[in-house]
């Protein structure tokens, strides 16, 4: 295929050709970055929590006035909840992934208070947490019965000290790279060091998905919260969750009447609500990408149709001089390829520019190179698809069209 006649023709239609190039370039630049944004959001949304998301229900109550003996009430509650049919395991936890509250401590490997520390989300968990949450220990052990203590004892200070803690693998790798974290000690919970007894494979913080320390590192303490400061987490089969939740609420109403129901949720609902904004963004980005491509495709169809109409005489003449339909078809396809190619080249540069702006203003990572060829391919295919109908119409023109004019 000879490109020279195409170039010669385009030279006479600089404005229209320029508009197609501009449109393809803009679309390419936006689509590349949008695809990257989408993939990042999807990665965030799909990050595993480490918990058995689909087997947990959460219920939490709070008293109206000051409680006389919250610890005793909590023990009664736990007993009643354990008897709820379908409950396999349960625990009281001070905070949960995807929840509203967030409690953290700055943990250090050295006793010096001014030594650098890491912000770590801190979960207080009562007996049974490992099975209840469905976490996976990769090193060390679960807490021993003697290590658990009531939060009320800690609150009055001096009566008890946390002696053991379990950390997530991310924290273990951050603090003790290449070494065994189990047996090491950390400072930050009290003035005394606390020994690491176990490492869990994965446990996200209450607010996962960011890049700050507090979005990544977490630990568990053998501390029994009372119902006032914690939520009951019940593990059951996915299909029985609603029934278990209902029965649990009824059981709590029996054991401690008059309390206010603070939270009653499937854990998967908490997760889904937490990522709602990201899901919205993904839908929006997908929508914009599709709309952009449709608009661009229609733009190409419109201008190509106009050109076919304008060049009727030229096409007819070429056909009369022996050009095949295929040659006419390929002429328009090549013309489109040329324009799209130019647009894509410009678009890739623009995509990179946009990515730099996003990096500076929105703390986004750099656009990976691999997105550029993907964007190029998509736009190329789009251009060819859009030009097909007008090009076929051109190819179908009979040679006499030239004579009729």
């Amino acid at each position: 295929m000879d490109l020279l006649p195409i170039l010669a023709t385009l030279k006479r239609h600089k404005t229209a050709a320029g508009l197609i190039v501009l449109q393809v370039a803009l679309t390419c630049a936006i689509v590349c970055n949008a695809l990257f944004l989408i993939s990042q959001r999807l990665e965030r949304i799909n990050e595993p929590s480490g918990l058995v998301d689909d087997e947990l229900v959460v219920v939490s109550v709070v008293g109206v006035g000051p409680s006389q003996n919250a610890d005793a009430q909590t023990r009664t509650d736990l007993q009643a909840l354990r008897a709820v049919p379908g409950v396999q395991q349960l625990s009281v936890i001070n905070q949960l992934p995807f929840g509203r509250s967030f409690s953290m401590s700055t943990m250090r490997t050295q006793a010096d208070r001014n030594a650098p520390g890491v912000g770590v989300a801190s979960y207080n968990a009562s007996e049974g947490w490992l099975q209840a949450l469905g976490l996976r220990l990769v090193a060390g052990r679960d807490f021993e019965a003697s290590e658990y203590l009531d939060n009320s004892a800690l609150e009055q200070s001096e009566t008890g000290k946390v002696t053991a803690l379990v950390i997530n693998k991310a924290l273990a790798e951050r603090l003790f790279p290449g070494a065994d974290a189990v047996g090491q000690t950390l400072y930050g919970i009290s003035d005394e060091p606390t020994r690491i007894v176990g490492v869990v494979e994965r446990l996200v913080t209450p607010h996962p998905g960011g890049s700050d320390d507090m979005n990544v590192y977490s630990m568990l303490l053998p501390v029994r919260e009372s119902f006032r400061g914690g939520a009951y987490v019940l593990r059951t089969e996915p299909g029985r969750r609603e029934a278990v939740l209902k029965a649990a609420i009824a059981a709590l109403d029996q054991t401690g009447p008059g309390r206010i129901l603070r939270q009653q949720q499937l854990f998967s609902e908490m997760r889904s609500a937490y990522y709602a904004q990201d899901r919205n963004m993904v839908h929006l980005l997908v929508g914009v990408c599709l709309a952009l491509m449709v608009v661009t495709a229609f733009g190409i169809v419109g201008l190509a149709s106009f050109w076919v109409q304008q060049r009727t005489r030229m096409i007819g003449t070429r056909r009369a001089l022996g050009a095949t339909r295929g040659q006419i078809l390929r002429y328009f396809q090549a013309e489109n390829l040329l324009l799209s190619g130019l647009g894509i080249a410009l678009g890739m540069a623009a995509a990179y520019g946009i990515s730099l702006l996003l990096m500076r203003n929105y703390e986004m990572p750099r656009l990976p190179w691999s997105y550029l060829p993907v964007g190029a391919l998509v736009l190329c295919a789009l251009g060819q698809l859009a030009v097909l109908a007008p090009a076929r119409r051109a190819a179908a023109l009979p040679p006499v069209a030239a004579l009729r004019g």
Binding site: A16, L19, G63, Q277, A291, G302, Q309, Y362
Partner: protein
């Protein structure tokens, strides 16, 4: 003449129906995308208290200890310790000053049988209502004397008053909060500052409190507080709210009516901080912040990143839509070269041809704008249905309505410039010859 051009435009729309609909849709969708995101942005970044946002300042002192990620000149803790807040309040060097925290408390309704429920609470000092222009339906706030006496008084929101008392003047009635009886002294009118600027720790678009209780009363009665609690030494949770606890958890705002007063107050804060430092309480070098409302919102990045990202995305989309419209209009104009040639030959000057095509572009924009308005309504409806905490706040007002139509007209006229200019360049002789 314009009327005639308008008629010509309609005729041209009719003759190429498909192309016209395509251009209309392109403009409408582009404009609607922009206006939906712009409306969200506009609602979220608005000044919550325009009359005095420049006179209200949030106060920050750096009371944290050295170490713990200290960077010279970095951002001080977002809130104040109780000791500092009470000291500043006692010295009262500003025109008005408020220390406060948000909270939650159980309310037991009088009517027997109704279950207790939790209400959102705020525990401010006396100046709060006057400082933030809280509108009262009945009664008013409490005095400094009430506060010192730890009076058991409460101001409630209009919504709560309607729920509990059917909207009647409930002053003097008792409200059971936690396990205590509190006397209602005031009922607010509907009040929802957006963003919730005076306390961002509950979420930037948090709902306003339902009950307001004097700070001292709430602490004595052990009403629980909500929000951000930042302690930099080990402290038992039951002691974290004590005076002298190494915890920052209180919002502190001052009102300073003139710039001179503001600069004097800044000096005063520095002196206070220096004094604390030389007394050995503050470890860090003096680093105070005094931000007026809008700067405070800006520094706390109240408008989510996603929103401004969406705004850019929408304008990028509009740019593509416009390029598209320019191309299509150009094709349409050039297709009518013959007609233009005849008009030019009959004596129409270039200016008139230009005007004719601009009128055509403008009418396209107007219709596209109306269509876009409908789509914007749909877009805003979708945002309101969404699960974001600001969704329900987003609504369209007259400004945005006018902006939508204006944007559509501006966009289509801009898009019409090039095609109209090219149409005006058509050589009559060439066209007549080729006919």
């Amino acid at each position: 003449m314009l009327g005639h051009y308008f008629e010509l435009a309609l005729r041209s729309f009719k003759s190429s129906r498909g192309l016209t609909i395509l251009m209309l849709l392109t403009i409408a969708i582009g404009v609607a995308a922009c206006m939906t995101t712009l409306t969200v942005f506009y609602v979220l970044s608005r000044d919550p208290i325009p009359a005095k946002s420049a006179q209200l300042y949030n106060i920050q002192l750096d009371a944290e200890r050295l170490g713990n990620g200290f960077q010279p000149g970095g951002e001080p803790t977002q809130q104040l310790t109780r000791l500092d807040a009470e000291a500043l309040l006692r010295e009262a060097r500003a025109d008005k000053q408020v220390m406060m925290t948000g909270g939650g408390v159980a309310l037991t309704p009088e009517q027997s049988g109704e279950r207790p429920f939790n209400v959102r609470a705020r525990y401010p000092s006396a100046d709060f209502f006057a400082m933030f222009d809280a509108p009262f339906l009945y009664g008013g706030g409490w005095s400094k004397a009430d506060e010192q006496a730890e009076a058991r008084v409460v101001v409630i929101s209009r919504e709560l008053n309607e729920r509990l008392f059917g909207g009647a003047d409930s002053r003097g009635k008792m409200l059971r909060l936690r396990d205590k009886e509190m006397r209602i002294i005031g009922v607010l009118d509907h009040w929802r500052p957006v963003p919730h600027y005076f306390d961002l720790t509950l979420g930037s678009f948090a709902d306003t409190a339902e009950v307001f209780v004097p700070f001292a009363t709430a602490i004595t009665l052990k009403f629980s507080s909500w929000g951000n609690f930042n302690c930099w030494a080990n402290v038992a949770p039951s002691e974290a709210r004590n005076v002298g606890a190494p915890c920052a958890w209180l919002q502190y705002w001052v009102q300073l009516d003139t710039p001179a007063k503001a600069s004097a107050y800044l000096d005063y804060l520095k002196r206070y901080s220096d004094a604390q430092r030389s007394a050995g309480r503050f470890e860090r070098p003096t680093n105070v912040r005094m931000r007026p409302v809008m700067a405070w919102l800006d520094a706390n990045r109240v408008v989510p990143h996603d929103i401004s990202l969406q705004l850019w995305l929408a304008f990028g989309f509009l740019a593509v839509c416009l390029t598209n419209t320019v191309g299509l209009q150009l094709a349409k104009a050039l297709r009518r070269s013959g007609e233009i040639g005849v008009r030019r030959a009959l004596g129409a000057p270039r200016r008139q041809i230009f005007l004719q095509f601009l009128v055509e572009a403008g009418s396209l924009g107007l219709v596209g704008g109306v269509l876009g308005l409908a789509l914007t309504w749909a877009g805003i409806w979708a945002v309101r249905q969404g699960s974001s905490d600001y969704g329900a706040l987003v609504h369209m007002d007259l400004t945005m309505l006018a902006t939508t139509l204006g944007l559509a007209l501006l966009a289509s006229l801009t898009a019409g410039l090039l095609p109209a200019w090219r149409a005006a360049q058509v050589q009559p002789a060439l066209q007549l010859k080729s006919q």
